[in-house]
């Protein structure tokens, strides 16, 4: 491996992801400079506003107040940084695995005079950069602004500390996630049914575990009360706020900012995690190389060259959602969508991060409210269901529709109602929504038994919201989907900045269903709390009708738009 090779690969990968200079060709859609530079300009503007804002506001309210707040919450900072590490980790499991899984798409690079390890290392670095970019864009101006107004003599050191430690956190998350993803890929290679069941169980478990996690955060006063013995051991060892990577990040970056004495143990921890990150990122590249070169991610063929086994098929009649009988077009669409989940599994995984981020914002809002808001805790946990069921719908009905890509030609040529095909995609996310809502509401009813009576209402509402969201997402995808996205290699890595539905359409696909979901669920449960459980079930009927009507209406509109798509849009 040479640094020169790594640099050539990195430069070109970044150049095509964040193209600054326009392509001049006649066949290429010309983009204005403003549109090309929208993201960097946005980031710079954001930074300027935050820095100037902090420099103006903090002296007026007094640095001392902020100083006290930050000093008292270095422990909370640890949790926050650990959550960012968790995001990088979860988001990378499928992304990293499919970078190797999709390596046939990098054949042009793999045959060049580079070691495969260099190539996979570069891909991992790109994923790390994508993974940390969002947090760096948000966090760096905050640290710059606070350093300007801080009284601490070494406050400016908090900026490079934050930058460095964020890269370390992302590297740890991405590398561990990537290794885990490779392990999953190894186990699942060629096992389609196991993959489908795995996704089903895995995504549902993610929701349940996150719900449980947040529930315990509410019931306790942070991590300390959940595992008090761990805190005691760490204190005995002389660590300020634990030994996690987030703790080292928080202790150093916030420590510099507020002028707290820096403990050598925390510096040692930071270097230790830095070294571990370097080891892990290289291990990731090594395992990726081995995975590809040895072919252990190849689908396991049941054939043998020595024996000729006659293949006999059963009568074709896949029943994808037990208990439901659809017409042929709908059933084939549901079957195809669930069977194909592997293809865009990483987008689904990436998309689970969206709701998690959203929920964290709600949770931190609740923290600020303190005891006054504790009574609402079970409802907040129920509310977690909404972004998840919307996310399933956007993924199954929105992204999957876009990733039909060239297959749209087959659909347009077939004597098929495109509405049936679209509604099949919408239906295909319902089992996932059902499992998630059953899990979350049962969990809440165990923790707060008085809510048991509302469990069926929550489950039904979640499915209704999911169906409405599916229709809306499908329509948004038909309007603003990039139907050529599947063949764009950078998007194959599932980078969150390059999702297949573009512009306002993605906002439409996400915002409206979430608003509908939160408003609807609040109304349905609110009526029950105010007037009695019967009213919840009475309200459920019109809410369900509205959702199903929205689902059908938007799915029909999507069908019409897809029928009218020109071949140049997807070929």
């Amino acid at each position: 491996m040479t640094l020169n090779d790594l640099w050539v690969l990195l430069r070109q990968d970044l150049a095509q992801s964040f193209r600054v200079s326009g392509a001049k060709g006649k066949r290429t859609e010309q983009r204005s400079t403003l549109r090309r530079l929208f993201l960097p300009i946005g980031a710079v503007l954001f930074a300027v506003v935050i820095i100037l804002g902090l420099a103006w506001v903090v002296p007026r309210i007094g640095w001392e107040i902020l100083d006290t707040l930050l000093t008292e919450n270095i422990g909370t900072g640890s949790s926050l940084f650990n959550i960012l590490l968790l995001f990088s980790f979860i988001g990378s499991i499928m992304i990293s695995a499919t970078t190797v899984g999709n390596s046939s798409r990098m054949e042009y690079l793999m045959t060049m005079p580079l070691s495969l390890r260099t190539l996979f290392l570069e891909k991992t670095i790109i994923v790390i950069l994508y993974s940390s970019a969002f947090f760096l864009v948000i966090g760096t101006p905050i640290f710059i602004g606070l350093s300007i107004v801080s009284n601490a003599p070494l406050a400016f050191l908090s900026i490079p500390t934050f930058l460095g430690m964020m890269v370390v956190l992302s590297t740890l998350g991405v590398s561990i996630g990537g290794l885990l993803g490779l392990l999953f890929s190894r186990i699942l290679a060629g096992r389609r049914r196991l993959k489908q069941a795995g996704w089903f169980i895995g995504t549902s478990l993610t929701v349940l575990v996150s719900a449980l996690y947040y529930y315990f955060i509410f019931l306790s006063d942070g991590f300390g009360d959940i595992l008090p013995w761990l805190g005691d051991i760490l204190a005995a060892l002389g660590f300020t706020s634990g030994i996690s990577p987030g703790a080292a990040t928080s202790a150093l970056s916030l420590g510099f900012l507020v002028g707290e004495p820096i403990i050598i143990n925390d510096v040692f921890l930071a270097f230790l995690y830095g070294a571990l990150a370097i080891v892990l990122v290289n291990l990731n590249a090594y395992v990726s190389e081995t995975a590809h070169y040895s072919g252990w991610l190849a689908s396991g063929s049941k054939r043998t060259s020595k024996t000729k086994t006659p293949v006999v098929h059963d009568i074709w009649d896949p029943q994808t959602i037990p208990g439901f009988k659809f017409n042929t077009a709908v059933s084939v669409s549901v079957w195809y969508n669930i069977t194909n989940i592997r293809r865009e599994g990483r987008v689904l995984a990436q998309y689970l991060i969206g709701p998690l981020r959203f929920i964290v914002i709600i949770i931190f809002g609740m923290f600020a409210g303190g005891d006054l808001l504790m009574g609402f805790t079970p409802f907040i946990v129920i509310a977690i269901t909404v972004p998840f069921v919307v996310s399933y719908a956007v993924s199954f009905a929105g992204y999957e529709l876009v990733y039909e890509g060239k297959n749209l030609m087959n659909l347009q040529l077939a004597p098929l109602s495109m509405y049936d095909y679209v509604i099949g995609k919408v239906y295909s996310s319902a089992p996932f929504a059902l499992v998630v809502s059953v899990g979350t509401s049962v969990l809440v009813s165990v923790l707060a038994p008085s809510l048991l009576v509302y469990v069926p209402a929550v489950i039904l509402s979640a499915v209704f919201i999911n169906q409405a969201a599916g229709g809306i997402a499908a329509n948004a995808a038909a309007m603003g989907g990039d139907f050529k996205a599947e063949r764009i290699v950078t998007r194959q890595r599932g980078a969150s900045v390059q999702m297949p539905i573009r512009g306002w359409s993605i906002l439409r696909a996400q915002l409206f269903p979430n608003m509908l979901g939160f408003a609807g669920l609040t109304a349905v449960l609110g009526l029950g709390q105010l007037l009695g459980p019967l009213f919840t079930y009475l309200a459920l009927v019109p809410f369900g009708l509205i959702c199903l009507s929205l689902s059908r209406r938007y799915a029909r509109s999507a069908g019409i738009k897809l029928t009218e798509k020109e071949a140049s849009d997807y070929l």
Partner: protein, 254 residues
């Protein structure tokens, strides 16, 4: 020179390539023929270091593909059957990117070289366009430009002429003839038997991962005991169409 020495590749129980040996000499075009799934692409992928041989090895210009793959790759140019190129680069940017990886010094000389290749393959006019706008043939030509930029001593071509227009195909044929005359070692696979017959000095026919016949056209005819065409030899070795099944199918068509 390419020396393939008892190569074997297994995917779990499935033997994709079975004890394959052959040699391609400098100044020679060697055609690797075989039905779909016979192991041609797997063999090429092993030579290119994309797959690890289960048994055996190969040498490219003396470099062992197991131990010295980067050195071996430095000698090779490759055009895949389905080129997947970076869609968000223009053809010109991609050609320069590949040149950088091959460490061809930047400057007017390199630009002239690239210009010449792009013009020769008729894609100069589209070289400022993003690759995502290219047709299949244009992508293949761009891939060929990338394979030729560093003037490789060994060329590996997987169905190089598929999807290219007749003028482009004739250009490719002339380029290959010219490179052969200059001493390049060329290994190609094709399903168009006329191309193999016209271009290749020697042909290897593989079926179910094993070499079933090898030699020049004259040798193959001799092995087939008669003045047969390459198509007849190929079908007799790998199995021809099942005429009875075709007749049954056509009988069913209303």
């Amino acid at each position: 020179m390419i020396e393939v020495l008892g190569l074997k590749k297994m995917f779990n129980e499935f033997i994709a390539v079975d004890n394959l040996s052959f040699q391609v000499n400098p100044g020679e075009i060697y055609g690797l023929l075989g039905p779909n799934g016979s192991g041609k692409s797997t063999t090429m992928r092993m030579l290119l270091g994309l797959l690890k041989p289960t048994e055996g090895t190969a040498k490219v210009m003396g470099f062992d593909i197991r131990d010295e793959i980067v050195e071996a790759k430095r000698m090779m140019g490759y055009v895949p059957e389905e080129p997947v190129l970076p869609q968000r680069l223009t053809g010109w940017e991609y050609a320069n990117y590949v040149s950088d990886i091959w460490r061809i010094p930047r400057g007017p000389e390199r630009e002239e070289e690239l210009d010449e290749l792009l013009t020769l393959l008729d894609i100069k006019d589209a070289s400022d366009d993003l690759i995502e706008t290219y047709s299949k043939g244009m992508s293949r030509k761009t891939s060929l430009v990338a394979a030729l930029i560093h003037q490789p001593k060994v060329l590996i071509l997987d169905e190089v002429q598929a999807g290219i227009d007749p003028r482009g195909a004739a250009t490719v044929k002339e380029i290959l003839n010219g490179l052969r005359a200059k001493g390049a070692t060329i290994l190609m696979s094709t399903h168009v038997l006329e191309i193999a017959e016209q271009l290749c000095d020697r042909i290897g026919i593989i079926n179910e991962g094993r070499m079933v016949a090898e030699g020049s056209m004259a040798d193959l005819r001799l092995q087939a005991k008669g003045e047969k065409s390459l198509e007849e030899i190929f079908l007799s070795l790998t199995g021809g169409p099942d005429m009875q099944k075709i007749a049954e199918y056509l009988g069913d068509v209303k």
